[in-house]
């Protein structure tokens, strides 16, 4: 029987995951070696390029992102397909600026890859590039591909080049400073509009829709239906079984992966397209039987199907890359990211009781209906021998089996509704117990569910108060920006000198939580709200999943100093800068120092010292 050529083609993704030119190369690999229609790589920013350069007043565009994220691919597609560019000019255009006339009459200069440009050419293009970016030359626009480090280096080197004209150098310094400010805050354009450019980071372009599209481009490839039906093992094939679990928008496995991607993204661990391709390929083909051969082939898949041996093709383990050696994971960063969640290693009594004692038969049936292969079928013998108390049983094997079941549970459970702590939350199985809550919180920002928003902000405030004061206070309405004199008490404070901003109520000093436009993360700031007008402190406390997790756990009772030095430090900085801001507004005629203490009921008591 013939093998499905799609399989070895997918294998090549995982094997060459470290390769830079994955996106471009794969077109040729697909056709030449496997005779397979290529997986249409998406160019998520292509439309933005078309719209921008087609408009009467286009702006400069810089495409950044790590190698392999499709910068050059985007530009090639745009140039050849939409500008009807000259193929030969493209091939010879490495290391120079290709010139094209746009519909609007403006000149477009294209640099395929800034890192390919040598010093001479860099010096040549510098004045024009700077002039366009600073808006001095509005008739020329630029489209440049460069990763962020390269882009900064280009301007930094120009600024430091003694042989350049001083005015030009000053311009370069300005551009450097503005680009740095833009990149630092994860924005796509200069907030002060000094540098006129859109900066698209292709490493960060992953969205729910795009994720689904990438998955579908693999899972709904025509070859599945063209080749597999001829194979006798088709209905028992582990690859097809794994595929089925991921198919469809409502697949719980897929939905959970999307949520993991969203959390990861907010932790600044982005999953560009090529990572997602490696991930889905491995979920389908991963095989942990032989570490030297981590992927299934049609042949080995048939063997598994024949013997009904599915233990090693577990897609929930494959999602974490557990079929690879640890040292190989280094070359496959997508799995480092997946493993960093600790899925399967974290648990609680409720989950374990469900798995071992079947405390919720309805839920058990539901999960078996979704996936009849990797649940009870694999686990039953381990479970019963555990319950029977077999002394000869290998405890490590049981723990491993439990971890596998927990992973399955993580990926197949429904997302509990916001604010509902009734059903088991899949996030209890990870180190980010509050990840679900985090996603709900993000949705509640800017006009979403107000009760979720209020409850969460109160918990956050309580967590911050506990961290800054070092006391187990119950205060959740006002923020106590506490500190100590010097460092003698390790950053925990008993005194405050600034007003306490609140989330609501009569005081002018307020706490605000907004969504950052670039990263989509919640950010907390203090500010003054006077007659409806907001005046914000420029220091924001950036709520990444890590910081959110920290504060929620502290608000629930964890000791602030027991983990995450980084969060404590960031809060300390936030408190200092916020206090300085608020003090600018309070008159200094009666300066006081307020000493804090804790009452029996967890309220903060103050002792004011006039000075």
């Amino acid at each position: 029987m013939a093998d499905n050529p799609l399989i070895p083609f997918l294998s090549s993704y995982a094997a060459t995951a470290a390769s830079d030119s994955l996106v471009d190369e794969n077109v040729r690999i697909a056709l030449k070696r496997h005779g397979v229609q290529p997986i249409e790589a998406k160019a998520p920013k292509l439309q933005a390029l078309i719209d921008n350069f087609g408009s009467p007043s286009p702006v400069n565009v810089v495409l950044t992102g790590t190698a392999g994220d499709g910068k050059t691919y985007h530009i090639r597609k745009f140039y050849l397909d939409h500008l009807a560019g000259d193929e030969k000019a493209w091939i010879n255009g490495g290391g120079i600026a290709i010139e094209v006339k746009l519909e609007s009459g403006k000149t477009l200069k294209i640099v395929k890859d800034l890192s390919e440009v040598n010093q001479e050419v860099k010096a040549q293009i510098l004045p024009s590039f700077a002039a366009s970016l600073l808006g001095d030359d509005r008739d020329t626009v630029w489209l440049v591909a460069a990763n962020d480090g390269q882009l900064l280096k280009f301007w930094r080197d120009a600024n430091g080049n003694g042989s350049l004209d001083p005015t030009l150098r000053q311009q370069c310094a300005r551009v450097y400073e503005r680009i740095m400010a833009t990149l630092k805050d994860d924005l796509s354009c200069d907030p002060q509009d000094v540098v006129k450019a859109d900066i698209h980071n292709l490493s960060r372009s992953m969205t729910d829709e795009l994720f689904g599209e990438v998955l579908d481009s693999v899972l709904e490839h025509p070859r599945w239906d063209a080749e597999c039906p001829a194979c006798p093992a088709a209905d028992k094939c582990p690859i097809r079984i794994n595929r089925q679990l991921l198919r469809g928008k409502s697949s719980p496995f897929r939905r959970r992966l999307v949520e993991v991607m969203e959390i990861s993204k907010r932790n600044d661990k982005h999953l560009p397209i090529r990572y997602v391709l490696v991930l889905v390929a491995n979920i389908l083909l991963g095989d942990s039987r032989n570490l030297d051969r981590p992927l299934l082939t049609c042949r080995t898949a048939r063997q598994r199907a024949a013997s009904g041996e599915y233990r090693t093709t577990n897609p929930f383990n494959n999602a974490l890359g557990l079929n690879f050696r640890e040292r190989d994971i280094e070359k496959l960063p997508v799995f480092s990211i997946m493993q960093s969640f600790g899925i399967g290693l974290e648990t609680n009594n409720r989950v374990d009781r469900f798995l071992i004692d079947r405390t919720n038969p309805a839920l058990h049936e539901k999960l078996e209906a979704i996936d009849p292969i990797y649940g009870a079928r694999l686990f039953e013998s381990d479970r019963t021998s555990y319950l029977e108390g077999d002394p000869s049983a290998d405890s490590r094997a049981f723990e491993e089996a439990m971890a596998n079941q927990r992973r399955r549970l993580f990926f197949l459970l429904d997302t509990p509704p916001a604010g509902d702590s009734g059903p088991i939350s899949p996030w209890d199985l990870t180190i980010f117990r509050f990840a679900g809550h985090y996603l709900d919180f993000i949705r509640s920002l800017g006009g979403g569910d107000k009760s979720v928003f209020d409850k969460t902000v109160r918990s956050l405030i309580k967590g911050i108060n506990r961290t800054l004061t070092g006391m187990m206070t119950e205060e959740s309405e006002k923020l106590w920006l506490a500190r100590s004199i010097g460092r003698l008490e390790g950053g925990v404070g008993r005194i405050t000198q600034s007003p306490q901003p609140a989330i609501s109520g009569g005081s002018f000093a307020r706490v605000f939580v907004d969504r950052h436009p670039g990263t989509g993360r919640p950010q907390m700031r203090v500010g003054m709200l006077i007659r409806g007008k907001r005046d914000d402190s420029d220091a924001a406390f950036d709520l990444r999943p890590l910081q959110f997790e920290y504060l929620m756990r502290v608000s629930e009772g964890s000791l602030p100093s027991s983990f995450s030095r980084q969060c404590q430090q960031e809060l300390r900085h936030f408190a200092l800068v916020s206090a300085a801001f608020l003090n600018e507004f309070s008159p200094d005629d009666n300066p006081t120092v307020t000493v804090l203490a804790l009452s029996k009921t967890g309220q903060i008591q103050t002792q004011t010292l006039e000075i």
């Binding site: 962020d148 600044d268 004199i485 010097g486 960031e570």
Partner: protein, 541 residues
């Protein structure tokens, strides 16, 4: 009486001024090279306090905060002469460091405040009849709890709490003029004297360094000092004022006059400018409270002092400028970076020893010395002894009755210089450890590895807003000769690497992780990371 004019100057050094008190000096070798005095038993906090005491005195007098070098008749620069006073501030000091009754009394928490005041004041009168603290009752409106709260708060600002046993050597964070005390030896029944047991002019040295920075830097620094240290009174200073009582009235208060001042040999060095730049950078942060700024200033001043010691040692003997390998990797096997660091520490210590030898040798190479006869007789021995005493303030074992030959006396001088207690190498080690720069372990040696507090000070002083990580590493290499990663290692070693490249890469990564844990780093991608100073002023265009 020694005539300072005859003292042998080190390379590039100013002549020792006539007003410098040298009568109690027994050997002038370390002082000639580095100055009088960088003292090992003066903790770096105390140096900062001493420096601020000098500044405070100038501010009170209405004089310019920093001094300029005077110029003699021929237009050459001469050493400065600075006098200052330190007020005893006895009431506050008693409350801070000698009283033991306030806390237990306040813990009684009774409603009868009047009774507690009476009891406490009676106790004070009994044990310290010369102290009158009754003003505190009025100051705090009869509220003993508030009084005790204020005392407790200020006590938490003690620096070096474990350091000194005597209460007259305990100090507070120098948060303002009311929180400054002299370090002295209290003689029973008398006012006591400045015995220079701990405050031995290391702070005065820092003062001279700042005063000798470039004019442009001083023009920036002086207004900042005036504003941050004196005009903007911190709340802690106000509390201290309240507690001082009568001592706040300086016209009547008891004080000590500092006799003499430090001697700093070299009139101009880049290192002085670096020090001034860091002071300007730290003080320019409006959003950092004074208490935190003082910690940064203590560490950075100590750092520049330590770097000065090594750099000066190298300069005096025309040796290569020192470099400091920062080991971030710790106790992993095969950590060659730590070995490099251990080696360079040994080299630096050795440099200090060799510098003194080179200094002494620079005199022995002169005609004046070679013209002295080498006989073991009263005349020639006496001539040698006189010259050594004049040039180095050192008395050899030569006596008229028991003459010693010149070469033997020379050896005595070298040995005494090398074995001097409180030698500069000891200060180098002690201060480098105190600022969180050097780690020392029995049987292993010393190596350079920064603590979190030092890292924080480095970021605050060197990063205005945001800076690329690579640029930060370049900056600390340029300003402090710190080597962390490959680029700087190559730069120092003329293109080659003294240890495997991957170790330097790991070292850089670990340095970044440390900054991340402190909330100072944001990595955007494999190629781009920023060091962020959260305290930099907001952007205003």
């Amino acid at each position: 009486m020694s005539n300072n004019d005859l003292i042998w100057p080190a390379k590039g050094a100013l002549a020792v001024p006539g007003h410098q008190a040298t009568s109690s000096i027994t050997i002038w070798t370390d002082y000639a090279v580095w100055g009088l005095d960088i003292y090992d038993n003066q903790p770096t906090w105390f140096s900062l306090i001493e420096l601020i005491i000098v500044l405070t005195d100038r501010w009170r007098k209405g004089a310019r905060l920093l001094v300029d070098m005077p110029v003699d008749g021929q237009g050459a620069r001469c050493h400065e002469q600075v006098d200052y006073v330190i007020y005893t501030n006895g009431n506050l000091r008693h409350l801070m460091f000698r009283d033991q009754d306030i806390l237990p009394l306040s813990e009684r928490n009774t409603v009868d405040q009047a009774a507690i005041w009476t009891q406490w004041l009676a106790g004070v009168k009994k044990d310290f009849p010369n102290l009158d603290l009754s003003y505190l009752r009025t100051m705090f409106n009869d509220d003993f709890n508030k009084f005790s709260e204020a005392v407790g708060l200020l006590r938490s600002a003690e620096v070096e709490p474990g350091h000194a046993k005597r209460w007259s050597s305990k100090h507070l964070l120098p948060v303002g003029d009311a929180a400054l005390f002299p370090d002295f030896n209290p003689k029973a029944g008398g006012p006591g004297n400045l015995d220079r047991r701990f405050f031995r002019r290391s702070g005065e040295i820092l003062y001279l360094m700042l005063s000798r920075a470039s004019g442009a830097l001083k023009d920036k620094l002086e207004p900042l000092l005036g504003d941050k240290l004196f005009t903007q009174s911190s709340p802690w200073n106000s509390i201290a004022h309240k507690l001082q009582g009568k001592d706040a009235d300086l016209s009547d208060a008891s004080k000590f006059a500092s006799g003499s001042f430090a001697y700093l040999p070299v009139p101009q060095l880049d290192r002085y400018d670096r020090l001034a730049e860091d002071w300007i950078a730290v003080l320019s942060h409006d959003r950092v409270p004074i208490e935190d700024s003082l910690d940064y200033l203590m560490r950075l001043s100590g750092l520049h002092e330590v770097l000065y010691i090594a750099e000066r040692a190298a300069a005096v003997q025309d040796a290569a400028e020192p470099v400091f390998y920062l080991d971030m990797l710790g106790n992993i096997p095969g950590n060659q970076i730590k070995n490099l660091s251990l080696e360079t520490y040994k080299v630096h210590k050795n440099l200090t020893k060799k510098a003194v030898e080179a200094y002494i040798q620079s005199y022995f190479d002169t005609d004046e010395w070679s013209s002295v006869g080498n006989g073991a007789n009263a005349v020639e021995g006496g001539d040698a002894a006189q010259k050594i005493r004049d040039r180095f303030l050192f008395k050899t074992s030569h006596k008229q009755a028991h003459p010693v030959e010149k070469e033997e006396q020379a050896r005595e001088l070298l040995v005494a210089a090398a074995n001097r207690s409180h030698a500069i190498g000891s200060a180098f080690t002690a201060h480098a450890r105190q600022i969180g720069f050097l780690s020392l372990k029995q049987g292993v040696g010393g190596w350079y590895t920064p603590t979190d507090a030092l890292l924080e000070a480095l970021v605050v002083a060197n990063v205005d807003g945001v800076m690329e990580y690579g640029e930060f590493l370049k900056t600390i290499y340029r300003r402090y000769s710190f080597v962390v990663g490959t680029e700087e290692a190559k730069a120092f070693n003329k293109g080659s690497l003294p240890a495997p490249g991957q170790l330097f890469v790991a070292n850089e990564r670990r340095f970044e992780e440390r900054l991340l844990a402190l909330g100072f780093v944001d990595r955007k991608s494999d190629d781009c990371a920023f060091v962020i100073n959260p305290f930099s002023a907001g952007k205003t265009e």
